[in-house]
Amino acid sequence: MRKSAEPFWWLLFATGGTVAAFLVPVHILLGGVALAAGVTREAFAYDRILTLVSHPASRLYLFVLISLSLFHWAHRFRYTLAEGLHLKASWLPVSVGCYGSAILGTLMAAMVLARL
C-alpha cells in the first residue's frame, strides 16, 4: 500500500483540503449558524431546496464537496492517529478504517444524489 498508493491518497487529501478550505466555511455559515439565527429559513424551504439540489450541476457539486471532504479527513486522520497513538501510518487497520469510511460515505452520497 505505501509505495504505490500513497500519491493517490495524498492527491485526494490535497484536492479535498483545497475544496474544503474554500467552501466548507460558507456552507456551515448558511446551513448551520444562519439557519439557527433564522436568517435563512425561507431559503431552506423544502420545495426551494429540492429544486436547487436536483439540478445536475448541484448534484455534481455536492457529490464532489462531500466526497473530497471525507477523503481529506481520511488521509489526515490516518496520520494524526499514527502521530498521536504512535501507530505506524502503514498499519492496515488504520488505513482500512479511514479510507474505507470515506469510500462508504462517497458511495452513499452518490446513491442519495442520484435518486433525488
Binding site: 456552507h27 456551515i28 446551513g31 436547487l52 439540489v53 479527513w73 442519495v112 433525488l116
Partner: protein, 127 residues
C-alpha cells in the same frame, strides 16, 4: 559502549505551543468530515420527503447542534487560514524567472475564497 538512545515521547505535542497548534490544525479535518456527513443527512432527509426534511431542519437548530455548528465553523476557518498560509510551500509560482512572493499567493487564495463564498451564498439564498 553503544550510544544512549532516548525513547520517543508519546506526549511530544503537549507543552509545546507549535506542536499543540499543529495537532489542533490536523483535528479540524474531523469537523470538516462531520459537516460532510450532516450535508449528506440533509440530502437524505430531503429525498425522504417534506416531513422528514422539516424534522431534520428542526433538529439542526436545537441548542446542541447550534453549538456544534459554531465549533465546526471555527474549526473550518482555522483549516482555511492555515491551508492558505501553507499553500505557497507546495505551489511555487514563477513569473519572469523570479518567484512570486509567498504573501501574494496567500492573498490570491483569500481573494478567491471571498469570491467563491459570495457566489455560493448568492446561489443558496437567491437562486
Amino acid at each position: 559502549m553503544s550510544p544512549f538512545h532516548r525513547p520517543p515521547q508519546f506526549n511530544w505535542w503537549v507543552g509545546n505551543r507549535a506542536f499543540t497548534l499543529f495537532v489542533v490544525r490536523e483535528l479540524t479535518s474531523v469537523f470538516v468530515a462531520a459537516y460532510a456527513v450532516l450535508a449528506l443527512l440533509l440530502l437524505r432527509n430531503l429525498a425522504l420527503g417534506r416531513d422528514a426534511y422539516e424534522a431534520y431542519l428542526r433538529w439542526l437548530v436545537t441548542p446542541g447542534m447550534v453549538a456544534f455548528h459554531i465549533v465546526a465553523l471555527v474549526a473550518a476557518l482555522y483549516h482555511s487560514t492555515t491551508w492558505f498560509a501553507l499553500s505557497p510551500k507546495a505551489m511555487v509560482v514563477r513569473i519572469g524567472g523570479r518567484r512570486v512572493p509567498p504573501r501574494v499567493v496567500v492573498s490570491a487564495n483569500y481573494l478567491a475564497w471571498i469570491i467563491v463564498s459570495v457566489i455560493v451564498a448568492v446561489i443558496v439564498l437567491r437562486a
